[in-house]
C-alpha cells in the first residue's frame, strides 16, 4: 500500500466523522464505506454473532446492515443518535426477522471458545473458573432473546443504558430492568454451578 493511500486511510479511519464518511459513501466512495465498516463493522458483527451463534448468519446480516447505509439513507438521522447504535438497531431488526424465521435456539459451540486467560490461582481454581465461564456462556444462550441482547450490549459491548435503549427502541428503565433480570438468572445459574463444582471431590 502506498504512503498516500496509507495516509488517506488513516485520515478516513480517524479524522472524519461518521456523517462525513456516510455522505462520501453515498456519493460512491468505496474507501469511505470501507472506513465506516472498519469503524462499526465489529460491533454489528459481534452482536449478530453472539445473538445468532452462526458465523454465516452474522456475516449476512452485517452486510445487509451496511448496505442499508447506502439504500435507506433517509432513515438515519444523526440528530437522533449515533451511527453505531443505528446500525446495531438495524442489525437487531434483521436478526429478529431471522430468528422468527428459523426459530432456532442455537447452542454454544464449545469448540470455538477461545482459551481463557486467567492468572492467579492454581489449576483447581482455574478449572473452576473455566467451568463458571462456560456456565455463564451457556446460561446466556438459555436466556430469552430480549434479555440476552441487553447482556450483550451492556455487559459485553459496554454500552451505556441510553445507547442500548436506542438500539433496542425501548425506554432506559426497560433496559435497566431487563439487565437486572438477566443477571439474576445468570447469578442463580452460577450459584448452582459453582456450588456443585465445589461439592465435587477433587
Amino acid at each position: 500500500m502506498g504512503m498516500f493511500k496509507r495516509l488517506w486511510r488513516r485520515r478516513l479511519d480517524g479524522e472524519l466523522s461518521d456523517g462525513d464518511l456516510h455522505q462520501a459513501a453515498l456519493a460512491g466512495s468505496g474507501e469511505a464505506m470501507a472506513a465506516l465498516y472498519r469503524r462499526h463493522g465489529g460491533l454489528v458483527y459481534r452482536f449478530t454473532l453472539q445473538m445468532s451463534r452462526n458465523d454465516a448468519v452474522a456475516e449476512e446480516i452485517t452486510q445487509e446492515v451496511f448496505l442499508a447505509l447506502l439504500t435507506q439513507i433517509d432513515r438515519f438521522d444523526a440528530a437522533r443518535g449515533e451511527l453505531s447504535t443505528w446500525l446495531c438497531g438495524i442489525a437487531r431488526h434483521q436478526l429478529w426477522k431471522h430468528l422468527q424465521r428459523s426459530e432456532v435456539a442455537s447452542a454454544f459451540d464449545e469448540e470455538n471458545a477461545a482459551e481463557l486467560e486467567f492468572s492467579g490461582d492454581g489449576p483447581a481454581e482455574l478449572l473452576l473458573r473455566r467451568e463458571a465461564v462456560a456456565a455463564v456462556r451457556a446460561g446466556m444462550d438459555e436466556l430469552p432473546a430480549t434479555l440476552r441482547e441487553v447482556v450483550i450490549l451492556c455487559s459485553l459491548e459496554e454500552m451505556s443504558y441510553e445507547q442500548a435503549a436506542q438500539v433496542l427502541s425501548v425506554p432506559v428503565g426497560t433496559v435497566r430492568s431487563r439487565l437486572h433480570r438477566a443477571k439474576a438468572r445468570l447469578a442463580g445459574l452460577l450459584r448452582g454451578e459453582v456450588g456443585s463444582m465445589r461439592r465435587k471431590p477433587r
Binding site: A25, L26, A27, G28, S29, G30, E31, A32, M33, A34, Y37, R38, G41, G42, V44, Y45, R46, L49, Q50, E59, T62, Q63, F66, L67, L70, A114, L116, F118, R129, A132, V133, V136, R137, M140, V151, I152, S155, L156, E157, E158, K183, L186, A187, L190, R191, V194
Partner: protein, 204 residues
C-alpha cells in the same frame, strides 16, 4: 453478593474476549465494491436524467413553436377572412352581389346614414347600434360608415370580416363606448370595388 461480583468479573472476561472479535475482512472488500457500483449507477442515472431533460426540452420547444405558429396562422385567418354571405355571417356568394341587392344595400346605407344625420350626430356611437339591435332595428343590419359619406355608389360589393378593437372604430368615424374601447370584436365591413368600406356590422 460474592456470586454477583463473580458474575460481573466473568461477564467482563467474556466481554473482553467478545470485543476482540473483528468483523470479517471479506465484507470490507464487498462493501467497497458495492459503493463503487453505486457510484457508477449514480453516474448512469445522472446521464439518463440529462438525456431525458434534453429530450423533454426539445419536445417542449417543438410544442411551443408549433403552438405559436398555429396561433399566428389562426389570427391571420381571422383578420382577413372573406365571409361568403352578405346578410348573415354564414354564407356569402363567391360572385359579386346582384345589382338589385347592391341597390338595396346602398339604399339601406343611405337610409341609415340619413337617420344618423337626423339624430344630430356625425359620429354614431357603437352602443346606439347595440340599442338598435335590441329593438330589432340594427346590428343584424349594416350601419353605414360616416366616412363613406359622399362616396359614389359601388357597383360591386363584398363583405370582409375583420377582428378589431373598439378603439379602431374611430378611424371609420364611429365611437365605441368606454367599456368597449379595449375589447376585441368581430366586425363585417361592406367594401366597394374601390376598396373603400361603406358599412359595418358587429358580429360579436
Amino acid at each position: 453478593m460474592t456470586t454477583d461480583r463473580e458474575l460481573d468479573e466473568i461477564l467482563a472476561e467474556i466481554g473482553r474476549e467478545h470485543r476482540a472479535i473483528d468483523a470479517p475482512k471479506t465484507l470490507e472488500a464487498a462493501l467497497h465494491a458495492e459503493a463503487g457500483r453505486r457510484k457508477d449507477s449514480i453516474g448512469a442515472r445522472k446521464l439518463r436524467l440529462r438525456w431525458t431533460s434534453a429530450v423533454a426540452a426539445i419536445l417542449l420547444a417543438a410544442i411551443a413553436t408549433s403552438g405559436a405558429i398555429w396561433q399566428l396562422r389562426n389570427a391571420h385567418k381571422h383578420q382577413y377572412r372573406h365571409v361568403r354571405s352578405v346578410s348573415t355571417p354564414q354564407a356569402m356568394p363567391e360572385q359579386p352581389l346582384a345589382s338589385a341587392q347592391i341597390a338595396a344595400r346602398n339604399n339601406a346605407a343611405a337610409t341609415a346614414s340619413a337617420r344618423t344625420r337626423s339624430a344630430g350626430t356625425d359620429r354614431p356611437r357603437f352602443h346606439e347600434a347595440s340599442t338598435n339591435r335590441a329593438t330589432g332595428n340594427s346590428l343584424d343590419e349594416f350601419v353605414p360608415l360616416p366616412v363613406s359619406e359622399g362616396l359614389p355608389p359601388a357597383a360591386e360589393l363584398s363583405v370582409v370580416r375583420i377582428k378589431l378593437r373598439g378603439s379602431d372604430l374611430r378611424q371609420y368615424g364611429l365611437e365605441a363606448p368606454a367599456d368597449a374601447v379595449a375589447q376585441t370584436m368581430l366586425a363585417e365591413f361592406v367594401v366597394g370595388e374601390d376598396g373603400l368600406p361603406r358599412a359595418i356590422r358587429i358580429v360579436r
